[in-house]
Symmetry: C2
Subunit: 244 residues, 2 copies
């Protein structure tokens, strides 16, 4: 399993991925699920993956090699818009499906992959997409400024309640860390360390890329202080009068 979450806010992108992969609970490993594509001052993109690891890696490799689209080889460095970049990711997913899908199906393994692509190209809008296993995709909007893939449910309530499009990305970092911590507590197949990215709109290079381990003092502080804050918050709510 996996948990990846991305925020597309007024002032920037915040993206966070865990690193655990597992084939059963007795076969776990650490793989980065965040891939960066950067030409400083020209473009910056980040891709996060979830699903079957072989499928995810095949998609990432195909994007790296480039996709032949009728005599022209395109990749995330040649795409002239974020929309085109999302299309290429979708096309890579479809090509892996054509190649691997039938055998996976014959062996009753589901073709599972889901990706988040965020970024910006010079002179264009900053955008965030979620690409499905069928290669189609949706985009985050100010109404719903976050997208999640993998084990999404435990970490969703905090985002539903506290996140808004105009949330400062530095506060967004707190929210995705809380969201990740809620998920880590409940699903053993989501695991540390975690990879964080912060991108400020129009900067065309990442502001922060950081691998956060169990011993990271800021993440430890978030874990501890958030639980305490929740306990304080619910105690501050008055008890129902009808409880006597």
């Amino acid at each position: 399993m996996t948990y990846c979450v991305a925020l597309c806010l007024k002032d920037g992108l915040v993206m966070l991925a865990d690193t655990r992969t597992n084939a059963g609970v007795d076969n776990i490993a650490t793989f980065s699920k965040m891939h960066l594509y950067a030409i400083p001052d020209e473009r910056f993109m980040a891709l996060m993956t979830s699903g079957n690891l072989a499928v995810s890696q095949a998609v990432v490799n195909l994007l790296h090699e480039g996709i032949d689209t009728g005599g022209r080889v395109e990749n995330l460095y040649t795409a002239n818009s974020m929309f085109r970049a999302a299309q290429l990711v979708g096309e890579a997913v479809r090509r892996v499906y054509v190649n691997d899908g039938p055998t996976l199906e014959a062996q009753s393994v589901k073709f599972e992959v889901s990706l988040l692509l965020g970024g910006q190209i010079k002179g264009r809008s900053m955008r965030l997409f979620q690409i499905y296993a069928a290669g189609n995709f949706i985009e985050a909007t100010p109404d719903t400024p976050f997208l999640q893939i993998g084990e999404t449910k435990y970490g969703k309530p905090i985002l539903d309640r506290a996140l808004a499009y105009d949330t400062d990305p530095r506060d967004g970092v707190k929210l995705v860390l809380v969201s990740m911590d809620s998920t880590l507590r409940s699903n053993l197949t989501v695991g540390m360390p975690i990879d964080l990215l912060v991108y400020h709109r129009d900067e065309l290079r990442p502001a922060v890329t950081r691998r956060i381990g169990d011993d990271d003092p800021y993440f430890r502080m978030i874990r501890d202080s958030w639980s305490q804050a929740l306990r304080d918050a619910y105690r501050a709510i008055p008890r129902a009068e009808w409880l006597g």
Copy 2:
């Protein structure tokens, strides 16, 4: 879908169930999922159900009619311990499975049912059980004083972080309402109104049974103030220094 949650605390039980049932998103209805079995000053039990509605109702009806266990008809009013009561619920599930399971399976409908049974019989311990579709069951303990059935994930983080065995039941009410609200926000097939039960240890009768609707002032206050409290709480956490 359904969301039911029950707390087995030092001083009592708190149980909460939604009332929505659905067969597809275009066929929803309201059914109580909480069933009470009470002989004042002698015993008090509450049973909450999730899963296939026909299966749940069959189990409840069978428990009402009584289960013939070798010449003797037993029900939740005759059981002489909570353990025996949980066994009877499990036995009812198995009998429904024997009767309905093969046809459901032939029509590719999963035999799904899961129940929470909490209560106390005079002179015995207050206990809380979760009964599975196979009729087997587990019990809540001071280490894990809550059990959930149905759509459990959205409402779990708040319980993980804030609930403890020695939480006052009146505070437990706040936590299950927050947990329910998180679930209601994310899953349309969990719906209002909701049924709340509070039982104080050794009282052998319910302290509070209350149906809470959309217009309930206390629930509205919880919904509003909790989101505000979370926003305040995360803002109070310092931003990471390494964010600049």
